[in-house]
Every structure is written in structure tokens, then in C-alpha cells.
């Protein structure tokens, strides 16, 4: 699989750094990052990344709302929720919003790699 350019959305800069490091280790690249939902929408428009990792709990707009907003303008966007929320209803909310995958924190590089590959193999050709 080719190296993907990924937008990382998380209000914790430390988590963003950790995800960026893991992406490098597994052969991908953080093309940009965003700390809020609004910033994520702007960064997506600017960079048109291959994929987005999206936190749910953020100060201005939660990740599920930001996912919906990005998909309104970019129906083919590949967005994976990366969150601490393990609640089934929250997972369903995310999937209904159009997210293509759901990864639970704390993060592990192998799981991140497997999720990215699964999403890209399943939906990547549609873009």
C-alpha cells in the first residue's frame, strides 16, 4: 500500500505528536493537524488529505459534527474516529455520521496501521 497523507485532528498536541510519530513508523505521513473541528474543516479543504484521524471530544465542535461537515463538502473523504469513547452508541453515532472506522485510545501503532489499511482497501478506490 502506498504512503498516505493524513490529517490528524485532536485537541491534545501531545496526542497529535504521538499519532504523527506512529504514522511515520508505519510508513505514512501527517500532512497537517488541527486542534478544533473548525480548524479541521479548513485544513481538510487546504490539504485534501488521503485520510483523517478524528478525535470526538473537542472544545468547539465535536468530532462527529466535524465529520458530517467535512463529508457534506467532500463525500469521498476517508475519516477514522480515534477516540477514548468505547460506548456502543457513540460508535454508532460516528458510523452514522459517515466515519469509515473507529479506533479506541490508548493508541497502538499496529492497530492504527491495521485500521488505516482496512479503510483504504475498502474505500480508497472510490476516491
Amino acid at each position: 500500500m502506498r504512503s498516505l497523507n493524513i490529517l490528524v485532528v485532536d485537541d491534545s498536541q501531545l496526542t497529535t505528536k504521538k499519532i504523527a510519530q506512529m504514522l511515520t513508523v508505519i510508513g505514512h505521513n501527517m500532512v497537517a493537524s488541527a486542534k478544533t473541528g473548525e480548524e479541521a474543516i479548513k485544513q481538510f479543504a487546504k490539504h485534501k488529505p488521503d485520510m483523517v484521524t478524528m478525535d470526538i471530544t473537542m472544545p468547539d465542535m465535536n468530532g462527529i459534527e466535524a465529520t458530517k461537515r467535512i463529508l457534506q463538502e467532500n463525500p469521498g473523504a476517508l475519516i477514522m474516529m480515534v477516540t477514548s469513547h468505547g460506548q456502543e452508541a457513540m460508535v454508532l453515532d460516528a458510523i452514522e455520521s459517515g466515519a469509515k472506522g473507529y479506533l479506541l485510545k490508548p493508541l497502538q501503532a499496529e492497530k492504527l496501521k491495521a485500521n488505516i489499511e482496512e479503510i483504504y482497501e475498502k474505500y480508497g478506490d472510490e476516491n
Binding site: T83, S84, H85, L92, D93, P106
Partner: protein, 181 residues
């Protein structure tokens, strides 16, 4: 979020609160071992009649957005949160000027991950409980109990210092008081 979110009461009884605290402690012990290689030597619970909370040097606070407005607080000895940060951020390039901010983010990430994971065990009728973003309080403070509030506490002792976990209902007034000080 959708109508699946934000109603109900996660702590419907004192028994539920005790089970919740046990789950929080269990997850915290696992997090410390898995993410920071820190072993908890002993756990001390006080689930009955705590009159005053003693906050340590750094405290992270989160509120569950359900009807109970429960607040959960993790409060750390400085040495312990520094050690958690050092292990949690291992391998990352961090400027000296960023360290204080990232120590606070470590505390915020930790409570968010632990509580977010646990809520899956306590969800009711297919509804999810949303969480506030974490609030960080620097400096030791003492908080007396409000009338009708209940404090449930647990203390975890490690070789790098001690942390305490507080579960408080209702939560919002306590958080507001802390932010005023």
C-alpha cells in the same frame, strides 16, 4: 451529537457509584502499567463519608454530561505526573519550553481515555454519555464538602508518588469553585 447521547444518570445508586469507582481504579492501574510502566503498590478506598478533598500539585477534572453531572478528578504528586509524562511521551521530540503544557495534556489525556473507556461498561439503554473536555488545576487546594454532595475517593500509591481519584456528585458546582480559586 444525536439523540442517543446525554440522558440518564450513570450513578443511580450508591452501589453504582462504588462499582464505578472500582472500575475507574482498575482501569487506572492498567493504564499506569501499560502506558507508563508504573506499578501501583497499594490502593486505599474511602467510599463512605469524606468531608474534605485535598488536591495535590496537579489535578485533571472531567464531568459526565448525564443527569447526575458527576465529576471525576485525578490528582497527582508532582513527581508521579512527571514520571507518567516521561514514559507516555517517550521517543517524542519535545522542547523544554513545551514540557509544562504537555504534562498538563498528559493528565488530560489520561483521565479522558480512562473515563471514555469505562463508560462503555456503564452505558444504559443504548445511550451514550458525553464527556466534558478535561480541565487542569495547578497547585494544592483543599475543598470542603458541599451539602448534599457525596465524595468517593481512592488513593493509588506507587514508587514515584501518590495519586488520588475523586468521584463527586453533583459535579458542576465543584468545578466552578475550583476555577474561581
Amino acid at each position: 451529537m444525536s439523540d442517543k447521547t446525554g440522558t440518564g444518570n450513570i450513578l443511580q445508586s450508591k452501589l453504582a457509584a462504588e462499582k464505578f469507582m472500582e472500575a475507574v481504579v482498575r482501569r487506572t492501574v492498567l493504564f499506569l502499567a501499560d502506558e507508563a510502566s508504573i506499578i501501583v503498590g497499594s490502593e486505599n478506598y474511602d467510599l463512605t463519608d469524606v468531608q474534605k478533598l485535598e488536591l495535590k500539585e496537579l489535578t485533571s477534572i472531567i464531568t459526565v454530561e448525564d443527569d447526575s453531572k458527576m465529576t471525576l478528578a485525578f490528582t497527582y504528586d508532582r513527581e508521579l505526573i512527571n514520571e507518567i509524562f516521561n514514559k507516555y511521551s517517550q521517543g517524542l521530540e519535545i522542547e523544554e519550553s513545551e514540557v509544562d503544557q504537555y504534562i498538563e495534556e498528559t493528565a488530560g489525556d489520561m483521565i479522558n481515555i480512562i473515563l471514555g473507556n469505562i463508560l462503555a461498561e456503564f452505558q444504559q439503554n443504548g445511550r451514550a454519555f458525553a464527556l466534558s473536555t478535561p480541565v487542569i488545576v495547578n497547585g494544592a487546594k483543599s475543598i470542603a464538602r458541599y451539602k448534599n454532595h457525596e465524595f468517593f475517593t481512592a488513593e493509588l500509591v506507587t514508587e514515584s508518588g501518590t495519586m488520588a481519584i475523586f468521584c463527586i456528585t453533583p459535579g458542576e458546582p465543584l468545578r466552578k469553585r475550583l476555577m474561581k480559586k
